[in-house]
């Protein structure tokens, strides 16, 4: 089922582990280099910048190859739909060729694998004249197949989103009371996916699909929260009812959704801390922030400036005391940096996020004193591309 040589794929995981050990200063650089030499692995790019660069080049390659074929196809307009299917086929052939060439998470293969799913979606759109259920269904199946064959994590994201869209649309469109039960159906679906993810993780013996299943588990947690969030439910139901003027109408069972909005993030955070699950902690924290946003969207208890100032002060105090409490723990919760920096990719981006928000500073300053306003443009423009 997997397109790659399993030994090479295993070696790729081993090299990743060796790199983590080297970063954590458990093994020396020489040992890591020996491991790289001893374990022939697949060609991957772990640097996100370079991987995206190759992704863009891959997109160029894919579209230029498709363009050449379109040049021949232009002669006959009736073939237009067939041509888009041909594009999808080119993507598939390209993905297969790249997999044969041992490219795994290199950027080029990402472009072809995702491009195939995209082209297939477009092709089905043309041939079914926009039947959403068929389109999302096809993309769901294609993404899952390609994930299983190329162990390609971004395809798993496409799979989950497309599956969610398919089910949501089916419930909304095909069932009589679909609109009323949509939030609950989505919650049920999320729970089902979560349970399925947990069960699959238990049975897993090889590491290949581990990350994909983790991803499904975490995405279903996010979906579960969002499908019961008051803001999401209210705005979406107003948007779907076609009676959206200025202000979305109150929804039935609002007390339930408000409770849900605030209890779920707290539960997530508590469970995350109990089980030491970092991803869940992040999801819980972000969900909590979104809950506060949802609440402030309907109830203006405090003017923004006071809310920001007081919120900042409160958060600072809270963090200060938390740090004080766990600062010197040697096990369990601690403020000491972990030797294994494996938390998640989000943390690695943290410095970048910080630097880019700092960059906005002159623009904010310009708002405060209108004299500087005239030229905020340049500083903003110059800094915008800086990171």
């Amino acid at each position: 089922m997997i397109a790659y040589d399993k030994n090479l794929l295993k070696n790729t995981f081993l090299v990743t582990e060796a790199k983590a050990l080297e970063k954590a200063r458990f093994i020396t650089k020489e040992q890591f280099q020996n491991a790289v030499k001893a374990l022939p692995a697949l060609k991957s790019q772990h640097n996100i910048l370079i991987r995206s660069g190759f992704f863009i080049l891959g997109v160029f390659l894919y579209s230029s190859v498709s363009g050449v074929l379109a040049l021949f196809g232009l002669v006959n307009v009736d073939l237009a739909i067939g041509l888009v299917y041909l594009f999808a086929a080119i993507g598939l052939v390209g993905s297969e060729l790249l997999a044969r060439q041992k490219y795994y998470g290199f950027g080029l293969d990402d472009a072809f694998i995702l491009g195939t799913q995209f082209a297939l979606g477009i092709a089905v759109t043309f041939s079914t004249e926009g039947n959403i259920l068929v389109i999302t269904g096809t993309v769901t199946i294609a993404a899952l197949m390609m994930y299983l064959r190329y162990v390609h994590l971004p395809s798993m994201v496409v799979f989950f989103l497309a599956l969610t869209a398919t089910l949501a649309y089916a419930v909304f469109d095909l069932l009589a009371y679909g609109k009323a039960i949509l939030p609950f159906a989505m919650m049920l679906f999320a729970v089902g996916m979560y349970v399925a993810g947990v069960q699959l993780l238990k049975k897993l013996t090889e590491p290949f699909y581990h990350n994909g299943i983790l991803l499904i588990r975490n995405f279903s947690l996010v979906l579960f929260y969002l499908s019961g969030n008051y803001f999401v439910v209210r705005e979406l139901s107003a948007a779907m009812a076609d009676t959206y003027y200025d202000y979305s109408p109150e929804i039935p069972l609002s007390w339930f959704f408000w409770c849900f909005t605030f209890i779920i993030p707290v539960l997530y955070i508590v469970f995350a801390l109990q089980n030491k699950n970092r991803m869940l902690l992040w999801i819980g924290f972000l969900a909590f922030c979104f809950s506060i946003f949802s609440f402030r969207n309907y109830h203006h208890v405090l003017p923004t400036e006071f809310a920001l100032t007081l919120g900042g002060l409160f958060l600072f105090a809270f963090t200060y005391f938390s740090i004080k409490k766990i600062k010197n723990n040697a096990t369990g919760f601690t403020f000491k940096p972990d030797r294994f920096d494996n938390s998640n990719a989000l943390l690695n981006v943290e410095t970048l996020i910080i630097a880019s928000t700092f960059d906005l500073k002159p623009a904010i300053k310009a708002e405060e004193s209108p004299m500087e306003f005239g030229d905020g443009g340049f500083s903003g423009g110059g800094s915008g591309g800086s990171f």
Partner: protein, 331 residues
């Protein structure tokens, strides 16, 4: 996750790639089940600073004409002085090499103090026009404060504020003339000052490397210089193409060499990306020049090969980078 990581370590041990002692150490460390909230708490500190300073900023902006502005001003000054007091109290004083605080908490207090003093300066400039009509000064003073804090407290985040402030200052002093002259001319002038600022930053990194002053700051300066120069020259490729092409190739060569020296993957990658964009723009210009639309089929047919050749070249460049910097391989 843990089960597969342990398995992988075990396999590495079986293949004789790590020693038994190391394997035991790793197992023991993993058994501690450390759950470090280091990054999370730091991020929360940063968030709190951001929330607080933007709250204060809006508060002041909204009360700028009311009677309470003296109260607000003195309160702001008081908070700023308090922040600075704690920063100075806990800092180890100025050091030429990388220093920082023992507790990262103070790093964020430095950030808050700098942001608040910037707001303070902006406010008194607006209310009392302290610096007269020389508006540039109102940006320059926060910039100077930021530079001082960045160097004294060894804070990279504040340094980025300082550099952006400097860029804003240069943009400012050039721009009033932009209103008088036509638009195209002013953009070119701004581009030249951007290139000049970039060159200035590079010169500063060379000088500070020589006198061993905060060598770890050089990466930030170089990043700004690279983006400033490259974006400005690429913008100019359309009008003044020969000059811009020469400038871009010189700067790309310099940054390519520097990225090997530091070594820095991001400088390396961005240099190549900018050079590639510039090259393609020139090629595009050439194609327009020779009226390529007459034989577009050939170009379309050649395009996949062009891209494949570029991909092969890029892979070659990365391999070369890895060969020279075996320790900091791009993975």
């Amino acid at each position: 996750m843990a089960q597969f990581e342990d398995e992988a370590t075990q396999t590495l041990f079986k293949k004789n790639l790590i020693t038994a002692k190391q394997s035991d150490q790793i197992k023991e460390y993993r058994r501690l089940a450390i759950f470090s909230l280091y990054s999370e708490l730091k991020l929360m500190l940063y968030l709190s600073v951001l929330l607080f300073t933007s709250g204060i900023g809006i508060l002041i902006y909204q009360n700028i004409d009311s009677i309470e502005h003296v109260v607000i001003l003195s309160l702001l000054l008081l908070i700023t002085i308090c922040c600075f007091y704690f920063c100075f109290k806990n800092s180890k004083g100025f050091q030429k090499e990388e220093s920082g605080f023992e507790n990262p908490l103070w790093q964020y207090l430095v950030l808050a103090a700098t942001l608040l003093s910037c707001i303070f300066v902006g406010y008194i400039q607006f209310q009392y026009t302290l610096f007269g009509t020389h508006y540039g000064l109102a940006t320059l003073i926060p910039t100077i404060i930021s530079f001082f804090c960045a160097y004294y407290f060894d804070h990279k985040g504040v340094l980025t504020i300082a550099v952006t402030g400097l860029a804003a200052y240069i943009g400012l002093s050039v721009s009033p003339q932009a209103l008088l002259s036509n638009n195209l001319y002013s953009t070119a002038t701004l581009s030249y000052s951007a290139i000049l600022l970039g060159a200035l930053l590079i010169a500063w990194t060379v000088y500070s490397a020589k006198i061993h002053l905060k060598a770890h700051f050089n990466f930030i300066f170089l990043t700004y210089a690279l983006h400033l120069i490259s974006i400005a020259t690429i913008n100019n490729l359309f009008d003044n193409w020969l000059m811009a092409a020469i400038l871009l190739s010189v700067s790309s060569y310099y940054f390519y060499k520097t990225s090997y020296q530091i070594p820095s993957v991001s400088l390396f990658a961005f240099t190549i990306i900018y050079a590639y964009i510039g090259l393609n723009l020139l090629l595009f210009k050439f194609l327009i020049f020779v009226r390529a639309d007459n034989f577009y089929e050939i170009i379309l047919l050649a395009s996949p090969f062009y891209i494949i050749v570029s991909i092969i070249l890029f892979i070659g460049l990365i391999k070369n980078f890895n060969k020279h910097k075996a320790n900091d391989r791009i993975r």
